[in-house]
Amino acid sequence: MAGGTIWKGYIHFRDTDVPVKLHTAVKEERIQFHLLHGRDRVRLRQRMVCAHEKQPVPPEEQCKGFEVEDGKYVIVDPAELEQTAPEGSRVIEVHEFVKTRQIDPIYLDRPYYLEPDISDIQGKGFNALVKALKDLDVTGICTWTMRKRPYFGALQARGKTLRLSTLRYADEIVPVESLELGDVALSEKELKIGSELIEKLTAPFEPSKFENEHQKKLQDMIDKKARGEKVVVLRPRRLKPTGSDQLLRALEASLKKAA
């Protein structure tokens, strides 16, 4: 079952309005740890401590400051922050449609599922939109407001439903140029053998065959310790890097192995 409805509104562009409900599409499960005092194993609580007085400060004596230069702050109060919240709205405004393959996945942030709302009882507009997006292989680029925050997202059809994924803003993506990667010459032979090797090692994408084994092993270790059994500590393994002069040989040996 998909998660509960978290927001209701309608998709709008030109003369089209499709009422929808938004559902969470993903959940996250993980083992949680707490921070303890080593000596007495008491669970620690977080306190905000004044750097000057070295004393914990209660919430009513805390305020928010924006650092304009080293040690200098502009104080803002919650009411002022509230003013910057966008006006509430129920519209997912589609600004344009783009070919789906043009969207670099690095922009994709959090996915949601859309469901036709009750006022679109037979899902007519919804179904027509799904079909049109699929036929044209396009994604709607849209903006909307939810929980007092503006969002930027991609509207896509998948199967019989619509998905809305929030997108990261362009200035949040670290450009590859900043990594300062040097150029290295490769021989056509290295590239050819490398490509052959990759083709040999290619399998269909079946994500369901991968489980979070670590989570299970971690739970086993916790259980073992809870029973008072000794846990053997293992060292992480480090592989010996393949030197530039050994690359071709390593590729050839890999190809032989894969054959």
């Binding site: 959940k27 004044c50 750097a51 004596e61 027509a128 670290v174 592989l239 393949t242």
Partner: protein, 260 residues
Amino acid sequence: MAVQAMWSGTISFSLVAIPVHLVKAVEPGRISFRLLHNKDYSPLTRKMFCPEEEKTVPSDEIIRGYEIMPDKYIPMTDEELESVSPERSRTIEIIEFIDTKDVDPIYYDHPYYLVPSKGGEKAYRLLVEVMRRTKKAGLAKFVLSEREYLVAVTPRDGALALTTLRYSEEILPDEDLSPKKGKIAAEEQSRIKKSIERMIEDFNPQKYADDRRKKLMDLLTKKAKEKAPVEAPAVEEEEKEGPADLVAALEESMRKVKSR
């Protein structure tokens, strides 16, 4: 190096091993505020407090524990946590390659970049170029801060991008959301299609900006002009403690889970 590494180790496929480090690929543009004490405008720092002894606890006295029953914890050391999957904590082993177009984008979670460490430049360049030519992505399992991720390694503008993937069981089914079969009127269908066709453009994410961030920046600039900023009293630099970063990192990851 312009960007700070968050991890270092090896990425391997078959018999080829490439020393690399992991760096951020996204930098949230959120405007960050500092919490201050409203009496002296001194910044507040997050400290862990022992309710039993009623005092803050230095980081070398902090351990991690798993709550097995209310108020009863099993302590876990870093070594123990790292030894849960020792083969995966320093190695990103590409298990297989897949056609990039086969990946349902709902699986993509958080992106990073891999950067070659000394001596790995050539093999790195080869992996980038070969995956670009064959339109493949490498699939690997990898453990980062106690969490095992399934990741996709793909070429991006000449670099290797590493994107964590969601596990299948984390993706909720959507069958129950699909609408009842309603007959779509041919007229309606062609009208929607025509509207969409008239709105097709190239993807240009630079056109969109976070309005809230802009408004907030305007507000701060205006306030800074109207009134001189407050100044925090000088304090001696506290010694930077190593494990404090761990605490911060843990809290950060907990916050992330909660905020979702």
